[in-house]
Amino acid sequence: MSTLLPALLAWRPFLDPIDIHTGWYVLLVPLALFIAIAYKAVRTKNMDRYYREVGVMTVQIIALMIGLAAASFLIVEVFARAAE
């Protein structure tokens, strides 16, 4: 906290970047949510199911990204190392 406080006090929103370099993967959640909000507003046929479809698409994006990360990890760390 003692190291975080000066950084927070000096931080100016929209002028300085957020210091979230260690937990950057958390940013996938709002990114996926905003993409789903905009995309489903265009593609949904029945707007009564809009919020449900936004939720489903957000979860789908996050799950697919986790799956892709796991697949990449397996290829690089397991299969490529085994082939060496």
Binding site: R12, P13, F14, L15, D16, P17, I18, D19, I20, H21, W24, L27, P30, L31, F34, I35, A36, I37, A38, Y39, K40, A41, V42, T44, M47, Y50
Partner: protein
């Protein structure tokens, strides 16, 4: 189509699809503001490429060009679809936040982001830099977020061009 570019979602709202328009507006502007919030002005940086393109067409043979070598014109091409707000943010970034650094080969000035530490003012006080340039993952995700906002608005613009005006709702029990 023009309305949809000027304000994301306005094309759908004009056609009577208010809820769709509100969704597009929230999603596109949400992504754009999220990118700016993450990375600051670094997320929107044309590097004066398009500014110089217009200058090249309209200027004479002795026109000088200011340059901004740190810019990302390809990513900005996607971000520009967010609308005039993206152009305004980029203009503010290039001409108010970046500083003239050195002369370039065309006789203009190369504009660069300020050094990331406070400088001393004329009266001895410390002056904070106009902004800090984002680096690493935060910069990547900020730029990605703003460009995705532009690409999603492009989908919305195309969709608004193919949509018909929504039929007005009939009053219950009344005649059409």
């Amino acid at each position: 189509m023009l309305l949809a570019w000027v304000c994301p979602g306005a094309g759908h709202i004009f056609l009577g699809h208010t809820k769709r328009g509100a969704g597009v507006c929230a999603g596109v502007l949400g992504l754009f503001v999220f990118g700016l919030f993450l990375a600051g002005p670094t997320a929107v940086d044309s590097g004066l490429f398009f500014h110089n393109l217009v200058k090249r067409w309209t200027g004479g043979p002795n026109t000088t060009f200011d340059t901004a070598p740190e810019g990302d014109p390809i990513w900005f091409a996607g971000t520009a679809f967010v609308g005039p707000i993206a152009l305004a943010v980029d203009y503010h970034h290039q001409f108010n936040l970046k500083q003239p650094a050195e002369r370039n080969t065309s006789g203009g000035v190369a504009r660069r982001s300020p050094r990331p530490f406070p400088s001393a003012g004329p009266d001895g006080s410390t002056i904070a830099p106009a902004y800090s340039r984002a680096l690493g993952r935060v910069a990547e995700i900020g730029v990605l977020s703003c460009t995705l906002a532009g690409m999603l608005n492009l989908i919305a613009i195309i969709d608004a061009a193919h949509h018909h005006r929504a039929p007005r709702r009939r009053r219950e029990g009344g005649s059409a």
